[in-house]
Every structure is written in C-alpha cells, then in structure tokens.
Amino acid sequence: MSLLSDMGTIISTMTVGEVDFQAVNAFRSQAAWFVFGPITAIGAILVYYMYKMSPWLDRHLERSIVVYTYIVIAGIIFVGVLQRFLPFLPMQPAWSTTLPPMLFMVMAWFGCSFNVRLRTHLGFSEFRTKFSPKWQLAMLWLDAVLWFGFCVIVVTTTARVTANAVSNFMIVPGTNGLMQWWFIITVPIAFILMAGRVLENIIEDMGKYARGEPLVEQSVIGGDV
C-alpha cells in the first residue's frame, strides 16, 4: 500500500476505533511516523493552550494521575496481603498482582512528564550553569528538541503496540474483560502531554531570557512540588 493510503487507514482507524488486520499493517508501516509526528506536534500545542487556559490543570493534571495511581497500587497490594492472611476477608483476587504493574506503567510515564515540567530529570548541570545566558538558552533549546524527538518516537511506537493490543483483544491477566489497551494507550497520551510540557518550558525560557532572568536554576528532587 502507498504511504498516503496507509496514513488514511491509520487516521480512519483512530476515528472509528476498530482495528483490523489491514489497520495493524498500516500502523506498522512508515506512514505511522507521518501521522504521529504531526499528531504529537499538534497535541503539544493544544496541551500548551489547555494549560494556559486552565492553570488548575497545569498544576494538577499529571500530579493527580500519579498520586492517585500510586495510592491505588499500594492499596491493592496491601489489601491483597491482608486477604491472604486474614481468613474473614474475601480471597485475594488474581488481578491483585497483574493490575498494579499496568498502573505502574501509567504512573511512570505521567511521572516522567511531571518531572519534565519541574525540570528535575537527573543531569550534570555544573558546566551549563557557568554558560552565558545566550548559550544557556541554546542548551535549553537542545533539551527541548531532544525531548520532542523522544516524544515523537514513543508516541509512534507505542501507538503501534496499542493497535496490536486492540486487534488481539488482549486482556489483563486475572480479569474477565479489562482490556490491556485501556492502559497502554495512556503512554502515548502521557508523551503528548510531555510534548506540551516541553513547549511550555521553552516558551517560559524564552520569556525569562527576554526579561534577563536566570535561566538555569538548581532543581531539588523531592523539593517543593
């Protein structure tokens, strides 16, 4: 199939929501890059404006997702152990060991996006802090470009995994009908949000540069978040 028809198949599949064999093949083709690259870029712009319009979402979206996923994971495992040892509680469900890892995956990537915004990903910034503001801005642009490239790659490749999971009706082991793709699809979504954060950060940096404010500040892991 041609590139254009594959792109059309991917877009129509995402609109209709039904993934057949032909669609899976289209997702596997090079066309996926031409669809998900622009989707990531457009998504990043939309996310940026979403955060601009709603400061509450800007502050709480990823934070709430990771916090409540964290609490649910801990709760499932803790209750699972209690169910095993306390005879008056119902038996430990089979999904108590299969669902938490899926939630961990969700938490990890939304947490990654959260840290992009906080600029707390580990890095060796000793030299960067000594650069002139012009070079510091150039380094921040380098970060932004590299983050964005990473987002495009992950959105495209995990969209392929999502399509595959949908077409194979993969369910979470130990459950009756909990589809795996409901969890997997959160990863490309998390990376689109991340791309939005990258855009937000670089626009903020350019503003700081224009105002002559410090560009590179030491971030504190576990600091005021």
Partner: protein, 452 residues
C-alpha cells in the same frame, strides 16, 4: 565508515551532550536511537520495552512502594524518632551528632529502600542541627550524602530489587545478603566521622544517659516494629519484597492516621525536648491526616517519575549492548585478566568507573548482566557478587562528577556541589575499604543465608 567507528562517534556525541547538561534519560535514549540506526534495529523495540519493563514486572513495583515508605516514615515522625535514638546512643562521642546522622541513615534505610530518600530525609532533618552544633556545613552535607549510600544496601533496597529482577535471583536472599555489608558501611563511615571530628574538635558532647536512651528507644518503637516487619516478612518468605513494601506503606499510613489524633489529645509537640517528654507520649508519633496523604505521595511520585523511566531506557540500552556483542568483548577483556581475584577486581574497577559517570541504576542494568556470568564462571557466588557489585554501585552515589547523593545533599542543605567533595572523599575512602573487605570475605554476604 565502519559500524564500530559510527558507534564510537555516537558515544562521544552523547558524552558531549551529557557534559552540556542534557538529562541522563535523554542521553541514554539518543545513544540507543543512534546505535539502533547503525545496527539496523527497529525503534519499535524501544516503544515495546518502555511498556514491558513495567507491565510485566511485579517485582519492580517494590521500588515505588519503598520510596513511598521513606516519605511516610519521615512525615509521620518515625524518622525523627529513629534519629533521636541514634543521637542519644552516640552523642557522648566526639562527632556524635554526625555519627548519629549516619546511624539514622542506617535505620531509615532498613525501612525505606531509597538512597536519595535517605539522604534527603536525614540531611534536611539533621543538617541544621549539625551546623548549630559547630560542624562545618560542608562536612554536615557530605555526611548526609555518604550516609545515604547505605539506603540501597541495608534491606529493603531498590537496587537489589532491580538486580534480582534482571539476573533472576531471589530478591529476598539478596536483601538478607546486604545486611552485614550495610552495617559495615555504617561502621566504616562512623570511624571516618569520629577521626575527622576528633581532629577538628567538632560537635557538642552530651552525657550518655540510660534514661534518655531508653526513652528514645521507646519513642522509636514504631520504627523498630516496621524494620522487624519488613525483615521478618522477607526472611520467612511470608511475603514477597513487593508485598513487604505494600505492607509497610499500609502500616505507615495506619500508624500516621491513628497517631495524629492521639498526639493532639496528648498535646505533645515535636519540638519539645526529650527530657521534658513523658514516657507515655513517646509511644505516639506526630502522624498526619488523610488529607495530607496526597502531598506526601507527590514527593515519592516525583522520585519514581525520575527513576522508573531511567530503568526502562537502561534496559533497552542493555539490549542494544548485547546485540553489539559488548557482553562478549567486555567478557573477553575481564576473563583475560586471569582467575578469581583478577576478574573480581577488574569487575569492581569497571563498576567504580561507570559509577563516576552514570547513575547507579543504569550502571546496574548495563553492567550486571555482562559481569555477573563472568564472575560466576570463575567461581564467585552469584549472591556474593551481587553484594560486591551493588556496594560498588552505591559508592557511585558519592563519586564525582556524577554522584546523585551529592546533588541531593547539595539540594537539601544548600551547600554547593563542589564544596561537598573534600569531605565526601574522606567517606569514600572508608566505603572503598569496606567494599574490598566484602569482596575478599564472601562470608560477610553469605553468612546469614543458611541454605547456601
């Protein structure tokens, strides 16, 4: 250009962007992407692994849960009680408060499994008091950074979980094997601390009082109970490390929620001097309300959001290295060194050098699958090697230029990174001495494992 030349150029390029301050996560990702192009590998593997590392690994879940445990024991006031106990035991010695900080790191590490949580908690708690007590602020911050290294050796430990997960070794046995080396690390650092403080005359001595020790021991009972619960559960096999982590999280939340109203009822304040506190008030910690839980969890979530993606991309990097035949090349180099001890010390040197430039998790994920089989082939016990490897990886937390604990300590104490280095290097000497001792004496790691 040959593949080898291209891969060398890619490696040099990512080293440059690392030095320019690009996050380590991106440095690894772009190395993987570059090498994948050279080797003709599809990038789909990257996407697949970024999902599979998490959704197929129940064992890895212990990592976020032990990080959360650290924040919960800090917020509930249990960590403060443990450090009070350590100070009342060691405050009569020269450098007692600094030694108590290291002791408190050891006790904290026995409930939490995270080095950065240990450094951040003990550093933010005891640094101001150490400075008030006449210690040099650089030494105080370096003590918190060095003390945090035991966070991943004294069980439970995040890095043991990752190692066991990768190498298919029983995590509970790895935990038990870490106990004695972890205690030795604490003792080694205390000796350094005593010597440095004696030379400079730092610290205010307090009288050793049995009553004070007893009172603070009672005050720390919840901490001891949590330590006992984790070790008992894992040692007896009642629950897996992940479940042990879930149980301690549940325990800390219940304790925090029950203690808060009880503490309010008793009218005890955290700042009240120990001498003025009644014995009954020592049974209850400050605790927290249910509404505070999300704000506690968000700190843990932030650390997990940094470490978990790093684990995922490091796994992919390890796979690319395997495809390149790095395992064979490094294996041939290490094996060519000769027998048992040359292989052991070459491996240790590689871990040490890698720890200077990389975070300990990538070091473990990348090097462990390469070095462990070689060590096993010359007769090093896999559990013993895991301890040697991970003590080395933990030392990497305070080796410049890239020592995570140094950054964390610098962040929580406000002492600039480079100013920490003279004192952290002193701790480094004692840690390396313990490391060599552990390497030469397998019994230190294996003695508590009766089945071996």
């Amino acid at each position: 250009m040959t593949d080898g030349t291209l891969i060398t150029l890619i490696s040099l390029a990512v080293t440059v962007i690392f030095m320019l301050g690009v996050p380590v996560l991106l440095v690894i990702v772009y190395w993987v992407i570059g090498c994948s192009f050279v080797l003709g590998l599809t990038l789909d593997n990257l996407g697949n692994e970024l999902l599979n590392v998490f959704n197929k690994g129940f064992a890895l879940l212990a990592m976020p849960l032990f990080i959360l445990t650290g924040d919960l024991i800090n917020k509930s006031g249990i960590a403060r009680r443990l450090s009070d106990f350590a100070y009342s035991c060691l405050g009569w010695l020269r450098g007692g408060l600094a030694m108590a900080a290291i002791g408190a790191c050891g006790l904290f590490a026995a409930i939490s499994g995270s080095n950065s949580a240990t450094t951040a908690t003990i550093g933010s708690m005891l640094h101001p008091e150490m400075v008030k007590g006449g210690y040099d602020e650089r030494f105080s911050a370096a003590t918190a950074a060095a003390g945090g290294t035991v966070g991943i050796i004294i069980p439970p430990s995040i890095i043991f979980i990752v190692y066991g997960f990768l190498m298919n070794l029983p995590i509970s046995e790895l935990f038990v094997a870490g106990i004695i080396p972890g205690i030795l690390m604490v003792l080694g650092m205390m000796v350094t601390c005593f010597i440095v403080c004696s030379i400079h005359g730092w610290g205010i001595l307090i009288k050793l009082s049995f009553m004070r020790v007893l009172k603070t021991a009672i005050g720390a009972w919840l901490g001891f109970f949590a330590i006992g619960l984790v070790l008992w559960g894992i040692y007896t096999g009642k629950f897996s490390p992940t479940e042990a982590a879930g149980v301690t999280v549940g325990f800390c939340i219940i304790v925090g929620l029950i203690s808060y109203p009880l503490n309010k009822l008793m009218g005890t304040h955290a700042e009240t001097p120990i001498e003025d506190k009644s014995i009954s008030s020592m049974f209850v910690v400050e605790g927290f309300t249910a509404l505070e839980i999300p704000s506690i969890v968000v700190r843990s979530a932030q650390i997990t959001g940094i470490l978990a993606p790093l684990i995922a991309v490091s796994v992919v990097m390890q796979q690319v290295l395997s495809t390149m035949g790095a395992q064979e090349t490094i294996g041939n180099f290490v094996t060519s060194m000769g027998g048992y001890y040359p292989v052991l010390f070459t491996s240790m040197a590689m871990v040490f050098v890698a720890g200077m430039i990389l975070e300990s998790l990538p070091v473990t994920i990348i090097l462990a699958p390469i070095l462990a089989p070689i060590a096993a082939s010359v007769g090093v016990d896999p559990i013993h090697f895991s301890v040697i490897f991970l003590v080395g990886a933990s030392i990497g937390f305070i080796t410049p230029p890239y020592g995570l604990n140094l950054y964390v300590a610098s962040g929580v104490t406000g002492v600039p990174y480079f100013r920490l280095l003279p004192y952290s290097s002193l701790y480094l000497i004692s840690l390396i001495a313990v490391w060599v001792l552990v390497a030469l004496t397998p019994e230190l790691a294996l003695w508590l494992l009766p089945a071996r």
